[in-house]
């Protein structure tokens, strides 16, 4: 079984590298990871200069009580706060595509029939596919972590302490868990649906729902406003409707759980919301169960796939 698993995992990694669309999405993701810290740093430096210019302007206008500098309280890791957005936008889409392609590829080329005619059983096949996804996403997240580290240290005057590096590593670990949920969702729909496009679109619609609709119902923030990390930090439900929505929808608001963890790690020194991490684990486990069920009822001999 170990040999079979290793073969499936190796094959997954090889096949992924050959996929041009995957490489394109991965390239976009890495580019954004690289730019994220530079954008964050350039913005922070400029805003600091804007603060000093504002102080001068206020002093010239005769203002005596100048407000304190609001940027001094921001921890060094806040330059990575845009990464949270890129993870739940590009990263989640990348994960969906990976999960989707991992099974669609085999169904399309009728490799599944061939594999199951050998001594490979369904549990081994699924475990191999999931482990392949875990391995690929771990490598991607590890590379993104290294990109962030290198870019942070290459920025002049950007010092990250050992604790900060640890928090950054933890942020990427949580991000890996978040991405795996979407990868498994893509894998599950790739087993369930008979149409390739539908199998890709359904997880994308779910992703849109989780990323935009649920947070809007909970916070009252408009979809585009939710792409600004500052808005994410400032939102708080007000009024009976939003309080009710918060109570009802919080259990399925995984994007909110993820951003809460990310904010506590990158933008504050606050303790990490452990309940949110458990929530992500719960959804990961749920996706594994759904995938297991989908592969169990998958009819190998009558399988048909349309574009």
């Amino acid at each position: 079984m170990a040999d079979q698993l290793l073969t499936i995992i190796t094959n997954e990694l090889r096949a992924l590298i050959r996929e041009r669309t995957f490489i394109l999405l991965l390239g976009t993701f890495f580019a954004m990871a690289l730019f994220s810290s530079y954008i964050g740093c350039a913005t922070r430096n400029t805003t600091l200069e804007i603060y000093h210019a504002s102080v001068l302007s206020l002093q010239q206008a005769g203002v005596v009580h100048i407000p304190t500098n609001p940027f001094l309280a921001l921890p060094p890791l806040s330059i990575f706060r845009n990464m949270t957005i890129y993870i739940f936008l590009i990263g989640a889409l990348l994960a969906i595509v990976m999960g989707h392609q991992t099974l669609i590829r085999d169904r399309k080329s009728r490799v599944t029939q061939l594999i199951f005619s050998k001594s490979v059983d369904k549990p081994t096949f699924l475990l191999g596919k999931i482990m392949g996804l875990v391995t690929a996403l771990t490598l991607i997240v590890l590379a993104t972590f290294l990109i962030s580290l290198v870019s942070a240290f290459s920025i002049p005057a950007q010092q990250l302490s050992a604790v900060a590096v640890g928090r950054l590593a933890l942020f990427y670990l949580v991000s890996l868990l978040y991405l795996l949920i979407f990868a498994l969702l893509g894998l599950g729909t790739a087993v369930i649906f008979d149409t390739e496009s539908l199998a890709l679109l359904v997880p994308i619609i779910i992703w849109v729902g989780v990323t935009f609709i649920v947070p809007e119902l909970i916070t009252g923030q408009n979809p585009v406003a939710l792409l600004n990390p500052t808005n994410l930090a400032s939102v708080a439900p007000s009024g009976d409707f939003f309080t009710l929505m918060h109570a009802v929808l919080s259990p399925i608001a995984i994007e909110q759980q993820y951003t809460q963890i990310a904010q506590s790690l990158l933008e504050t020194q606050a303790p990490i919301p452990v309940s949110s991490i458990w929530m992500l684990f719960f959804y990961f486990a749920l996706m594994v169960i759904i995938d297991c069920y989908a592969i169990a009822v998958y009819q190998i001999t009558t399988d048909k796939l349309y574009e």
Binding site: I39, I50, S57, V97, I205, F212, G220, V224, S238, F241
Partner: protein, 326 residues
């Protein structure tokens, strides 16, 4: 160009899309999102009114007037911010899907090759496809307008003025131009790519960059967006003082603006937000004043869509299609 052929292709496109479960699901999804955004805007306004009355009651209990408080004003078109943003995001996906399906079904059934053997010119085929899908997009937008009018006048008991109705129609007219760009984009990709799902994924990557990532970078670089409540509010600065300070950082602001302006989504947002009065400085203003300021954005989205149509023409190359299908 054969007008009969154009009309036959357009009618077929329209009928096919209405039979397409995916399109119906996405349309229902968009209508649901419109309802969600209108409800959220309504509850948000209700919450603001509630907060105003609470603050007023507290002031009156202290024997003070409520003159210092600003009473929330209800403008029905301002309730459409969420709807426009969903059109930016989901509407663009629908445009992509329509463009993709429009070509994928022809390629899948090998009817594209068959059509090329008939006396149908390239322009007739393209214009038929674009006309059919334009009618579809306009029907979809029309349905959303009816939904909005019924929700706001029927449930909200607020009547639109004539000017507001014209502004609503104009905003949705611009939405059509915006969605047409994504339709053309997906059509081009589906024509060019041999592997159709790869065309769809590639379309989603472009959508992600144009609609979400580039505007997001511009937005997060905005100095005023760095802290909750706004930096200049925190500093208690007047608009003139803010402008004076920002003028000192011209290069940074130009870079930010260039990033935002490279995305059709930002032009569409600026234009529709101005027309609908979502941007406060344009609220309740006449159309001439709005277009005086926003003609540039209108030119941009028009140019993007026109470029999209031309790209479809270039991509619809008989030899290339036959080679790819082989």
């Amino acid at each position: 160009m054969n007008k009969t052929a154009v009309w036959i292709i357009a009618k077929k496109e329209y009928r096919d899309a209405l039979k397409n479960v995916l399109f119906i699901v996405l349309l229902a999804f968009l209508l649901f999102l419109t309802a969600v955004s209108l409800s959220v805007a309504g509850f948000d306004f209700q919450s603001q009114v509630g907060q105003y009355h609470n603050a007023l009651a507290q002031l009156q209990a202290l024997s003070q007037t409520g003159a210092v408080l600003e009473k929330p004003q209800y403008f029905p078109l301002q309730m459409l911010r969420g709807t426009i943003e969903y059109l930016e995001i989901i509407g663009a996906i629908i445009g992509l899907i329509l463009g993709y399906v429009s070509i994928a079904k022809e390629k899948g059934n090998n009817t594209l090759q068959l059509l090329l053997t008939r006396p149908v010119s390239r322009w007739s085929f393209i214009m038929g496809k674009i006309l059919g899908n334009s009618l579809l997009l306009l029907s979809m937008l029309g349905l959303i307008i009816i939904f909005i009018v019924v929700a706001i006048t029927g449930i909200g008991q607020v009547m639109f003025t004539h000017l507001e109705l014209v502004k609503l129609l104009l905003a949705f007219g611009f939405s059509y131009i915006y969605l047409l760009f994504f339709y053309c984009l997906a059509t081009v990709l589906a024509l060019v790519f041999r592997n159709l799902p790869n065309a769809l994924i590639f379309g989603f990557v472009i959508w992600l960059l144009i609609v979400l990532i580039i505007p997001q970078i511009g937005d997060t670089m905005d100095p005023d967006n760095q802290i909750p409540g706004g930096f200049f509010n925190h500093m208690h600065m007047t608009t003139a003082q803010q402008r004076g300070v920002i003028a000192q950082f011209k290069t940074y602001e130009t870079l930010r603006n260039v990033l935002e302006e490279s995305s059709i989504e930002k032009h569409y947002e600026r234009l529709t937000f101005a027309v609908l009065g979502i941007k406060n400085i344009y609220n309740d203003k006449g159309l001439s004043l709005i277009f005086q300021d926003k003609w540039g954005d209108l030119t941009w989205i028009g140019s993007y869509s026109l470029a999209g149509i031309l790209l479809v023409y270039v991509a619809f190359n008989n030899k290339h299609i036959l080679e790819k299908s082989a």
